[in-house]
């Protein structure tokens, strides 16, 4: 009896916690509401299955508990029942997988009008690079990294000269404009993660990875590193500002390009 009640209370407690606890996802600020929807579908299906299995167990424990003289039934198998259960499970699984794969297809298909922003991770800070007037980012390699070229931009590549470099400041993005985030790391694996955008991807040294989204809400959002990257992992924070197009243009004009950042160094060298 006690055991049956305990099992039923676990189901009840879990449902109550799910519905009433203050801990739930943070309001979304990107176009990936589909991901939230898929999570909700999954919560419903899995929640029903969990409750059904555990309550069935609770009932069995109560109804078929040992009493003096009671004896179990003898029933080795039932092919029919097992097939029905398998088919039912298959349908439930398909109901979660199908929307998941459709949304994944959207997630990995970058729209043509997306602007490019590069995020560079290194222990333990975030830097950003935006294309200049030519709309293209210059080539890069860690071999070029030096104190006056912290992101390793190829100094000979003409496309790189006007690249805008943001270091130690928040990244600014334009509201409603799809953005393809190129991810690059100089040292170890990091992961550029903004909970409100729902998207994340590891940055692997030696490769460039990416994901895309459209910011849908104005505001300042926290950037966290989501892949263990050494002692300072939990302190690798930053922020992203989502703002209107006009504000974004003003901000962009105030930023320094790669060529401008190197100019004083060259002047020093000339003296």
């Amino acid at each position: 009896m006690r055991t049956a009640v305990a099992l039923a209370l676990i189901v009840l407690g879990s449902v109550v916690f799910h519905l009433l606890s203050p801990w739930w996802w943070t309001p979304i600020a990107s176009n990936w509401a589909y991901i939230d929807d898929t999570i909700l579908i999954t919560f419903w299906i899995t929640g029903v299955v969990f409750a059904a299995v555990v309550l069935f167990m609770a009932y069995c424990v109560f109804r078929f508990r040992h009493r003096e003289g009671s004896r179990a039934a003898y029933q080795p198998e039932s092919t029919r029942l097992e097939w029905w259960l398998s088919i039912g499970t298959g349908i439930g699984v398909a109901a979660m997988l199908a929307p998941g794969l459709v949304v994944w297809h959207q997630f990995v298909t970058v729209p043509d009008d997306a602007v490019t922003v590069e995020v560079v991770g290194q222990q333990w800070q975030w830097s950003y690079r935006l294309p200049g007037a030519d709309g293209r980012l210059g080539a890069s390699h860690v071999a070029y990294v030096s104190p006056d070229n912290p992101l390793g931009i190829d100094p000979k590549d003409p496309h790189g000269q006007d690249d805008v470099i943001v270091q130690g400041e928040p990244l600014h993005l334009e509201l409603g404009k799809p953005v393809k985030i190129l991810l690059r790391s100089l040292d170890v694996v990091h992961d550029f993660y903004v909970p409100e955008f729902r998207a994340k991807m590891d940055m692997i040294p030696g490769t460039v990875t990416y994901y895309w989204f459209t910011p849908t809400r104005v505001g300042t959002f926290e950037v966290l590193c989501a892949e263990l990257c050494g002692t300072g992992h939990s302190h690798m924070r930053g922020s992203v500002v989502v703002e209107l197009e006009s504000e974004h243009r003003t901000w962009l004009l105030q930023q320094k390009s790669f060529a401008q950042l190197r100019a004083p160094v060259r002047a020093d060298a000339g003296n």
Partner: protein, 586 residues
Amino acid sequence: MTDDTSNVIQSLSVAEVADVELYHPKSWITKYVFSQDAKIIAIQYSITALSIGLVALVMSWLMRLQLGFPGLLSFIDADSYYQFMTMHGMIMVIYLLTALFLGGFGNYLIPLMLGARDMVFPYVNMLSYWVYLLAVLVLVASFFVPGGPTGAGWTLYPPQAILATTPGKQWGIIVMLVSLMLFIVGFTMGGLNYVVTVLQGRTRGMTLLRMPLTVWGIFTATVLALLAFPALFVGSVMMLLDRVIGTSFFMPAIVSMGEQLPYGGGSPILFQHLFWFFGHPEVYIVALPAFGIISDLISTHARKNIFGYRMMVWALVAIGALSFLVWAHHMYVSGMHPAFGYFFATTTLIIAIPTAIKVYNWVLTLWRGDIHLTVPMLYALAFIVTFVNGGLTGLFLGNVVVDVPLSDTMFVVAHFHMVMGIAPIFAIFGGIYHWYPKVTGRLLSDTLGKLHFWVTFLGAYAIFFPLHYVGLMGVPRRYYEMGEMAFVPPSTATLNAFITVVALIVGAAQLVFVFNLVRSLRRGRPAGGNPWGATTLEWQTPQTPPGHGNWGKTLPVAYRWAYDYSVPGAAQDFLPQNQPPVPRTA
């Protein structure tokens, strides 16, 4: 299932086998220390694994204290936190769970359940344990080397695992890799033994489809481990070379802390593929023996045959095979080619179907049973609750696009602790309460057992269920401290403190378990040969605890499957596997 046995086996006579092949110990040392008896080796494995497990338990306390009460213990800084985290994970997954299920339960139960005298290669079996012990000692040594153990996380992702900005860079990572390699060598010796014994060492009448599901689970898991561990082995060798002689298997060109490192051209993601090609089957290496043990516990204590035995066997085999096709679901956000996502999400969700069948068959076994709520049965029920809970959250993380926001958050931590931490440990507890009487001849205390059960079960659920929601909010895992996060409400700190307090209580309850184990050795109620009225052969030995060679002069013959409980017309509610069928009068 009973009567198909009677015609086939009736002609079998009881086998008389002289035990000349067995090595007979001549001294106390060869009997109890360098023993070749699988039962002694099993106990050695179990004690070693449980002892190192207690170290991992203490690590988890320290981590939880830091998360619940940041800064309370001044000696826990970021470095030591990551060291505790790494050692906790590595010990629990490999040195405790793998070793205890295969080396502990496997060694004890395979020969006894199959009616064999011992493993087929007893000397190799002995070596297997001693190499495992060496691996554990090397692992423990990493606490004492300069710089301490590695803090790279149990996944050991390069490049950070071997760089100066990760704790344990000097010696910790080297010692860790060497210990893993030793473990794999030791396991391979034991694993070959288990597989060959199952295939070649069964007694007469013990067909593969009459084996208890415990043996099926351990057997399938061992095959998986023999195929999966080599991937970890080569990964460890390559990383060791990167670290010690400066090769670049996993190391691209890197600037670390402003300094160009002499590496170039390697692939960090190659290591992730090698690691998870091992790492995912590893989940099932731990889960499949648990599945088997739970099946037998439920059947025995509900006095009812396991429902759908053949389906259970095929489900085990199907899960084992599929487990090699899903590894990259750990890497959805690793930056691998996005097209892999479709494939691995599909295979991962397909694996849910045979797994669900197993769950249905467990609960259907309870239906119209005669349920004895013994401590092993309680643990079996708790296993189902936590395994179903953790398995269902696996459907979130396996579904590639749902994994994107949840990956690397506390949701993952909650999921895998529920499904491959708590659930398998409940199977281990259930198994220990169930088989301890055979191993020692005495029952564990029921009162202490129930106390241990309720605190552990309700406590573990209270720890890990709320943790899912912390992850859903977006709190990343592997954070030494949360600090200020704008999207996290302040009440989360209270929740974290609550979880820590519960974790301390659950940890303390394990001391009750240890006390029970020690106390019952002398003061437990004498159990007799078959206290649970079980059908399988290990309960039918002439002596309890079974002597060397297990069976005296004659080997048992298996006349029936392992689940003849409550057979209509039978006098008792169980028919042992070695009980001959009643001759038909017609």
